[in-house]
């Protein structure tokens, strides 16, 4: 909402300075976006001083001037004027300026080989006089302290730009803003003075509002103005329209616009001669069409509120008029419309047809239904004043009287909500100034709500009015109480934070990427999940919700590889989506690692990242989070985007149905499809939702501290097993032989090749044996030794390697 202070003062009698008014506006909830001059094309002409003059090397009649243009800036300007001399004060136009005389736009240019930044202007070039000999000479006494300042005084008034919240349609007119300001005490709201011009004769065009279902119009006021001469608007009106950055069109259009901006009272002017007999306000029929003032043809649906005549639709009520009945410069007779349309109906129609107009914006928020007559009076008066013509009586059709709504307001609610007190008389004054009719009954106010405030429907709205006008600075700042109702984080949230920092501590950079992604990449990772399309994506390559964290991670790892990075570790913790319903999402950690370990290192041999790097990271993370490594179970099954032979899934327990994590090399096909160039790409995923809370709390585990001081013994074994026999199973077999004695099992060698049959491999392991009851004797050790060998041989078909 834009207006000038001068305009505001037509409604507000105030002695306050502009800045005080501006501050007040913001303090009462009418946020000032800006308060400045509309920039003018004349702003680029500056007072300047020539500080040095040199002859142009390639042209006798040209000279090169060093020109002081203020703020410690000097520029070089090539000038042909004979009067250009040192210390002359003149007018400088920089590159981009438009010379008033010939509308030429200046740019930095080379004149005979010397670059000139702008030009020094003659009086004639600026339309100041006909003097075209030489550049303007300014008197030192008047201009010597103005170097760098604009030469032309800005004659446009400063414009206030307010951002009006959708609940305040009344402030879409200057009068509403003035009323709010007056309520704060900065001034008085002036009365609207209407010249009591006499209206003659009846309004001859019949108007009716049909009783259709969901009729969008409840009141339609009109008057006829006969014998007008439409013309250009007078200067004052043009200036008003221009000062708000709009374009004057013709007196009649400008006047209706002016009344709309002034009183937030949209009007519509019809060329009365183009109306076929009568005006019927009715619901549209499906398939009806009309050409609107935006020169588009609209095809209507049912139940849209239209203004029509005998021949058909004239316009969409409260949204846009039609070309058939529009006023033109030669229009003689005008029918002026001032109506009330129901916001819901306006919104529905404009959404369906996708039309946005100033009128629609206002009616959608709610226009004062009681302003119909005022709008007609004000506009008709101006039209007859400027364009002549005879004004008819006003014809007002209405199906709803739009009486003021009433609220009972318990005064104590104010303090209950805001925490501070305002005395009753002040409350009554504020509300009265805002246009409420107030009567007090003990601790209660009976209020009649002004019809321009559709936003006020219940007592809390009254609290807001009072505290807003009184000022939010009156609210106390109460020290916060530290009482806690429950733990800050629940178990799952604690786990989230723990895992996040645990993964980062393994050398991964955390990233945050969109929850949506490119469906083409998503297809590579979605497995059997449903694709969830966004109906209105921001761009075609962000068109679906992600089914996997890897979609974006692989995309961005490629971007970083393309930037020249090689060894990258990235992870993200966040949602992936299973379906398009609330809650159908999982919280997943995805981590990815490219390139090599120890690249270009003087004391360690480099190697490509591999499946066991990520296996370490994921297992360590889970162990740090409190899960027992001993009960983990690894399967060689994983989603299809992993390398089928170099990936696996982790179950916190053998009996669990869902794996909590996957790890492995990313499938080479994916690297190929996404054109990812790296020596190696590995990753892991942790599904937080499948990680159950540990049954035994860490604090309870701590209290149970047991250890053995008896001697430990270590024994090495090498078993020859089938090539596809899993190390995990071998460890499981050995450790279950005697959980009390066998303390740890370490695999220290895997061997295939010479001396081993082709379909076999040798697994060498070291077993630590320790009792918690006694020092084991050689015979005990020999016994367990034998047991290990025999058990492994029977259970796995392995052979001890001799």
């Amino acid at each position: 909402m834009k207006f000038t202070i001068g305009w505001l003062k037509e409604h507000l009698d105030t002695q306050k300075k502009d800045n005080e008014l501006i501050e007040k506006l913001t303090n009462i909830g009418l946020e000032v976006e800006s308060f400045e001059n509309l920039s003018s094309s004349l702003d680029s002409f500056k007072v300047a001083k020539i500080i040095n003059v040199e002859q142009h090397p390639n042209a006798d009649r040209l000279r090169i001037c060093d020109v002081d243009i203020g703020l410690d800036n000097t520029v070089k300007v090539v000038c042909g004027a004979p009067n250009a001399k040192k210390d002359l004060l003149t007018i400088y136009a920089g590159p981009g300026s438009v010379i008033p005389k010939n509308s030429m736009k200046l740019s930095v240019s080379k004149i005979r080989g010397v670059t000139s930044y702008g030009m020094l202007c003659s009086e004639s070039e600026l339309n100041l006089s006909n003097e075209s000999e030489g550049i303007t000479e300014l008197t030192a006494s008047k201009y010597s302290d103005k170097i760098g300042k604009n030469f032309f005084k800005s004659n446009t008034e400063k414009v206030v730009d307010l951002s009006i919240t959708p609940n305040r349609p009344d402030c879409l007119g200057v009068r509403g803003i003035a009323r709010d300001l007056a309520a704060t005490g900065v001034g008085k709201l002036k009365k609207i003075l209407l010249k009591n011009s006499k209206n003659n004769g009846s309004q001859k065009i019949k108007v009716s509002i049909t009783k259709d279902k969901n009729q969008g119009c409840t009141a339609f006021g009109s008057c006829l103005i006969e014998g007008v001469t439409n013309k250009e608007s007078p200067k004052w009106l043009k200036e008003k329209i221009i000062s708000l950055g709009q374009k004057p069109i013709s007196a009649i259009v400008d006047i209706t616009n002016y009344v709309m901006l002034d009183l937030n009272r949209p009007l519509h002017a019809y060329d009365a001669d183009k109306i076929d007999k009568e005006i019927i306000v009715r619901n549209s029929k499906k398939g009806e069409t009309f050409e609107a003032l935006d020169n588009k043809e609209y095809k209507l649906d049912e139940e849209m509120c239209v203004i029509s005549d005998k021949s058909g639709v004239l316009g969409l009520g409260g949204i846009i008029g039609g070309t058939r009945s529009g006023t033109e410069i030669n229009t003689k007779n005008i029918l002026l419309e001032s109506a009330y349309f129901i916001p819901r109906s306006i919104r529905k129609t404009s959404k369906l047809l996708n039309i946005d107009t100033d009128a629609k914006f206002r009616f959608e928020r709610g226009i004062d239904p009681q302003s119909i007559e005022l709008g007609l009076s004000k506009a008709a008066e101006l039209i007859s004043e400027i364009c002549g013509g005879k004004i008819s009586n006003f014809d007002i059709q209405q199906t709803d009287k739009h009486e003021k709504n009433k609220i009972k307001f318990n005064i104590s609610l104010f303090e209950k909500i805001t925490g501070f007190k305002v005395n009753d008389n002040e409350i009554i004054k504020i509300l009265t100034d805002l246009g409420f009719e107030v009567s007090k009954e003990k601790f209660q106010l009976d209020l009649k709500i002004p019809t321009w405030r559709p936003d006020i429907t219940q007592p809390i709205d009254i609290v807001e009015e009072i505290v807003r006008i009184k000022g939010y600075e009156n609210i106390e700042t109460l020290e916060p109480e530290k009482t806690k109702i429950k733990d800050t984080l629940n178990a799952q949230q604690k786990l989230f934070h723990f895992l996040q920092r645990s993964v980062a501590s393994k050398g991964y950079f955390e990233t945050v990427t969109w929850s949506f992604t490119d469906s083409k990449i998503n297809k590579l990772f979605k497995e059997n999940l449903k694709e969830i399309k966004i109906v209105n994506p921001i761009s075609s390559d962000l068109d679906v919700l992600r089914n996997s964290i890897f979609t974006n991670l692989t995309f961005y790892i490629k971007k970083n590889l393309d930037r020249g990075f090689k060894d990258i570790s990235l992870f993200e913790i966040g949602p992936i989506f299973k379906d398009s319903k609330p809650g159908e999402q999982l919280t997943v950690i995805g981590a990815i690692k490219s390139g090599k370990i120890s690249r270009l290192n003087w004391n360690e041999k480099d190697r490509v990242v591999d499946v066991f790097d990520v296996k370490k990271d994921v297992i360590q993370t889970l162990v740090e989070a409190g899960y027992d490594r001993q009960s983990f179970f690894v399967r060689d099954e994983s989603p299809s985007y992993y390398h089928p032979g170099k990936s696996g899934s982790i179950y916190v327990d053998k009996d669990e149905i869902e794996p909590v994590a996957y790890f492995g090399e990313i499938h080479p096909n994916i690297l190929k499809k996404l054109d990812i160039k790296t020596e190696g790409l590995v990753g892991f995923e942790i599904y937080m939702d499948y990680l159950r809370e540990n049954k035994i709390k860490l604090k309870d585990l701590k209290t149970n501290f047991k250890y053995s001081d008896y001697q430990k013994s270590e024994r090495d074994f090498a078993f020859v097993v089938d090539k596809n026999f899993k190390a995990q199973d071998l460890i499981e077999i050995i450790s279950s032989i005697d959980k009390n004695l066998i303390r740890s099992i370490k695999i220290f060698d895997i061997y295939e090749g010479e001396n081993i049959p082709q379909d076999k491999k040798s697994i060498a392991l070291n077993v630590t044996i320790q009792s918690s009851e006694k020092t084991l004797e050689e015979s005990d050790l020999e016994k367990i030794n034998k047991l290990i060998i025999s058990t492994v041989e029977t259970k796995s078909g392995a052979k001890i390697r001799s």
């Binding site: 990427t513 962000l542 990235l570 609330p582 003087w602």
Partner: protein
């Protein structure tokens, strides 16, 4: 007696020479070996007359000890020398780089969420979360923003179906609704999370983060709201004083509503929070609208309280001098490295929020 004295003197002399470990062992053998000179005297002790024996034994023992001590110290001397000369050959260039280590980073958004959680934890708030996909009821209608409300236009919503029933939440406020529907008052929660609007330019990103706050009890008023936010802003920016301005505004789900500005100035091209005469809008808040309370089956006559919504990314930008919002989500390795935080930097009350 003189014989053993001589042996002693001779060998003490010898031991004063520069010896290596072999020659020292040689001397040891010569003295204390099976046929060593001192050993032989001990063997002879038994054959001496009783009166001489005692004195001789005592002399012999003291000589033996003297020599032994000398030998031991010599041995230590030689060993030290040998270690020293060995160490000299083992010297490495310690200025060579250490073994490689890699250091991970926490994203600034996560760090800021942890900072926020830590601050609100201090004043008794707990953390709630809600789904990223919402239905229009929780995102709008229950929040007093019915279908025909113009405020809906201000949210450029991503929809997941043509009926506009399912959407990506445009703010974290639906968590308020879910929390109040699923629990019993009092409520004292914050809800950080991802939010989405189909808007993209230098200062808008189609995904961003908000934290919702909600405190509902029997007598929570606007003074508590002011106090809570004042505490939060001061703690977050780690300054003693903050200039704060509450401006009336409008949100469908709160009334009265306010926008909060904080004072700042530009010093050396950087934003300094808490001083200066410029205002920066940082959050929206207000008293929860009675219609919202009714929608979650709470009686507005019994319960009241405040809610607020803060842009997390923006807070992070202000605190850590990040200029471009879009960079948060572009996964530039250099950016993550620069603006990321060490995983050990867990914001907490006792260690402080930031280093």
């Amino acid at each position: 007696m003189s014989d053993i004295k001589k042996i002693k003197d001779d060998y003490l002399n010898k031991l004063n020479n520069d010896l290596n470990i072999e020659s020292l062992n040689q001397i040891k053998t010569e003295l204390f070996g099976k046929n060593g000179k001192i050993s032989n005297y001990f063997k002879k002790l038994g054959s001496l007359p009783t009166d001489e024996r005692k004195k001789f034994a005592s002399d012999l023992n003291s000589i033996k000890n003297e020599l032994q001590v000398k030998i031991d110290s010599k041995l230590q001397e030689i060993e030290t020398k040998e270690i020293n000369s060995k160490l000299e050959n083992e010297k490495v260039d310690v200025t060579l780089p250490e073994r490689e280590f890699i250091r991970g980073k926490i994203h600034p958004v996560s760090q800021v969420i942890d900072e926020i959680s830590s601050i609100f934890s201090e004043i008794g708030f707990s953390v709630e979360e809600g789904p990223d996909i919402e239905n229009e009821h929780y995102n709008f209608t229950a929040l007093n923003t019915p279908d025909n409300h113009p405020a809906r236009d201000m949210h450029d919503t991503f929809y997941l179906d043509n009926n506009k029933e399912l959407l990506l939440r445009t703010h974290t406020s639906p968590v308020q609704v879910r929390t109040m529907l699923n629990g019993k008052p009092p409520f004292k929660i914050i809800a950080p999370g991802r939010t989405y609007r189909s808007d993209s330019d230098q200062t808008h990103s189609p995904m961003f983060h908000q934290v919702e706050g909600l405190h509902i009890d029997k007598d929570i008023n606007m003074g508590h709201l002011k106090g809570c936010l004042n505490y939060f802003i001061k703690s977050f920016f780690e300054v003693d004083k903050i200039k704060m301005r509450f401006r009336p505004s409008h949100f469908p789900f709160t009334e009265p509503s306010a926008e909060v500005d904080i004072g700042y100035e530009i010093k050396d091209g950087k934003i300094v929070i808490g001083e200066g005469d410029k205002w920066l809008e940082i959050l929206g808040c207000g008293m929860v609208h009675p219609n919202v309370l009714k929608n979650v089956k709470l009686s507005p006559d019994k319960y009241q309280g405040y809610a607020f919504g803060i842009g997390i990314d923006r807070l992070g930008m202000l605190k850590y001098g990040i200029n471009d919002l879009r960079a948060f989500f572009e996964t530039d390795y250099r950016w993550l490295n620069h603006f990321g935080f060490d995983p050990l930097d867990v914001p907490s009350n006792y260690r402080g929020l930031s280093r």
